[in-house]
């Protein structure tokens, strides 16, 4: 019996999307207003024109939101000059991939660089107000310059403001 369970677990691990396997970063994101909150964790990368299912938070126009994110190293190796990039940008429909970050569509954007040794952590807590009713992508991503550009590590959610 135990062998079957172990084999099943191994099969599930193999079938899991690549982005969900143990990666170099552990990423979490939480967005809240005064009434409710939503959380997101590390998610698998998708094609540029894909529509994906991801966590969503609905709120009224005029609400003030707080985004809390945390990026920590899940690797024993030193990762140098990692870029940690956070943004809230208006999108056309839920689940849409990140659009170009045109200044007129971006509510808030931050970027920092630091080295990540094992267990190193950086975090942020940022208040923002959307530009009006609409759908917004809230996303935190980490990019290790030593890895190929297409390897993205991120957590994201949709913010639906009515």
């Amino acid at each position: 019996m135990i062998r079957w369970v172990a084999a099943g677990l191994l099969l599930m691990l193999y079938a899991a999307p690549a982005g969900l396997r143990a990666g170099p970063f552990v990423i979490s994101l939480e967005v809240s207003d005064e009434a409710k909150k939503q959380t997101a964790q590390l998610q698998p990368a998708a094609k540029a024109n894909a529509i994906v299912k991801r966590p969503s938070l609905k709120a009224a126009a005029g609400a003030r939101f707080t985004a809390k994110w945390k990026v920590s190293s899940g690797s024993k190796e030193l990762m140098k000059d990692v870029l940690v990039h956070f943004y809230v940008v208006r999108i056309d429909k839920p689940g849409q991939m990140p659009p170009p970050l045109e200044p007129k569509s971006v509510v808030i954007e931050s970027a920092l660089t630091m080295d990540f040794a094992a267990k190193d952590i950086t975090s942020g807590e940022l208040q923002f107000r959307p530009l009006g009713a609409g759908i917004y992508l809230v996303r935190i991503e980490a990019q290790d310059p030593a890895q190929p550009r297409e390897r993205e590590y991120f957590a994201a959610m949709d913010l639906v403001v009515k």
Binding site: D81, V106, F128
Partner: protein
Amino acid sequence: MLPSPLKRIGQPRRVPHLMGGPPMPHNAAPSADGVVRAPRRVMAWPCAVLAVLLFCGSARAEHFNIDLTVTGKTDSASASADTSPPAQGRHPRPVCHAKVGEDLVLQFFFSSNFPHNVLHKVTVRFYVAPEKKAAQDAPADRENAVTQGHFVMDFKPDTGKVGLRQRLKIDKPGVYLVRVESENSDSDHEHFSAIDLVVE
């Protein structure tokens, strides 16, 4: 338009002039009459003394470089690094004027200027909060901040940096303190940059 934090922080090789790269050769630029002249000879030793004094001043001073900017439709203001104590710093704060409901852009870049070692778990805090009058010494009312936030991060020597760009509107007339500051920077003083924003 202000540059995106990603462009300035994430792609230093593409925009070296924004990241403190080699400056343009100023002495080859045309003068006001349009003529390019060779650099003038100057007295070497007074310049050397001045350079040493300036170097000592800057070496003594700052762990961080800060650029803080507030931009509205018709006015903008920029401030650079100041130190506390004293709590309100050594330099007068620039003032930016705006209208109620006007689109404003807050932007800052906070970068390490400390060459010796990593500064661990530094908090970089920013806020836009009401104050009673411009240039006041008393702290602003952060309980009623229009917006605020913070980062906790390690600053690598000379190259560690964080930047932010945020769009906001202010619904109530009044005077607001726009401030970004360091906490826990392992020093006997902290660094900040501040602007008074007058909303009418």
